[in-house]
């Protein structure tokens, strides 16, 4: 796969220096990416302290494997994959093997979350919590592509490169993931209408 077209920027130079072991260059890079990673981690963990720990683990893991970054995707996309995998690891072996929550469980969980959430956003906090909950309930391979495509804003080619799969597989997984999400949404809407 060809490297993503990136202009000769300070970022690229910093990546090169960091790959050669320059901790200061890595620090400058992470200053730029940390706010985005932290915001995504808060969505994953739903807890600020856990999110901070997750970002720290992600940055340390990124430093250790930075030499493997080949520039075939944006650095943020690569970091986002590490963030997702560190989160999966942090959940533990048992939690990863728990069955996906049912629509009723998702709805109940979403109600608990929205009572604490602010209602000021253009996009309703209730709808937002519900959407994140059903994305979390997807099988890992579908969840990964949905998050990379929409939340990390990665192209299909970048998503494929970051996950080490073909573009065709990314398209297929996206299609199935959206179909599943749609099915879950419909079921949740039905449950909500029955409640009211």
């Amino acid at each position: 796969m060809q490297p993503v077209e990136q202009p000769e920027t300070p970022e690229r130079e910093l990546i090169g220096r960091a790959q050669n072991g320059d901790v200061d260059a890595f620090s400058i890079l992470m200053e730029g990416f940390q706010p985005r990673l932290l915001a995504q981690a808060i969505v994953f963990c739903r807890d600020a302290e856990l999110a901070r720990d997750l970002v720290q683990e992600t940055m340390i893991a990124a430093w250790k494997s930075l030499k493997r970054f080949d520039g075939t995707c944006q650095l943020f996309t690569w970091l986002y994959v590490i963030l997702q995998r560190q989160h999966g690891r942090a959940r533990g072996w048992f939690a990863r093997r728990l069955p996906s929550p049912t629509a009723e469980q998702i709805l109940a969980g979403s109600r608990r979350e929205t009572t604490a959430a602010t209602e000021n956003s253009d996009f309703g906090a209730d709808e937002s919590e519900l959407l994140r909950a059903i994305v979390s309930a997807l099988p890992p391979k579908h969840r990964e592509v949905i998050r990379l495509r929409f939340y990390a804003d990665a192209s299909e080619a970048e998503t494929a490169s970051a996950l080490g799969i073909s573009v065709g597989t990314v398209k297929s997984r996206l299609h199935h993931a959206l179909k599943k999400l749609q099915g879950m949404r419909e079921k949740l809407n039905l449950l909500r209408s029955e409640d009211h």
Partner: protein
Amino acid sequence: MKDDNQDLARLLHNDAKSVRELEAFDSRLHQDTMREISLGEAGVNRERWFTWSPLNVSVTAAMAVMACVWVLRPGQPPAQPGAHPGPEIALVVDPAPGSSLAYRQALAEGEDALLAMLDRDGRSILPRSVDAFQSDH
């Protein structure tokens, strides 16, 4: 179905936008993380004499296997603890000169051998100045 997917994609994009509103730089987190990385680097440099790379592990395992094969190679008697190779026991004993066993052995070889032994022993026992077999008489 395609419209439904587009609607869902729009919702996901909107949610992603709302996540971006949460972005804020956490300087303490950054400092803590960079300190961890720097400490880790210092530790790695100290302990770099052996790293658990697949190559190192394979080479070490191969050397261990070769050592085992060498020790247990076929045709080697099993090692017996405590058995030291001492001096071989002499099965044929030379009798001491002048002893009865020496004379008996000499007699068994013949009368000449016995006389030669008596002559030799007589010379070694008597002082050199004395010619035992040359009489002054």
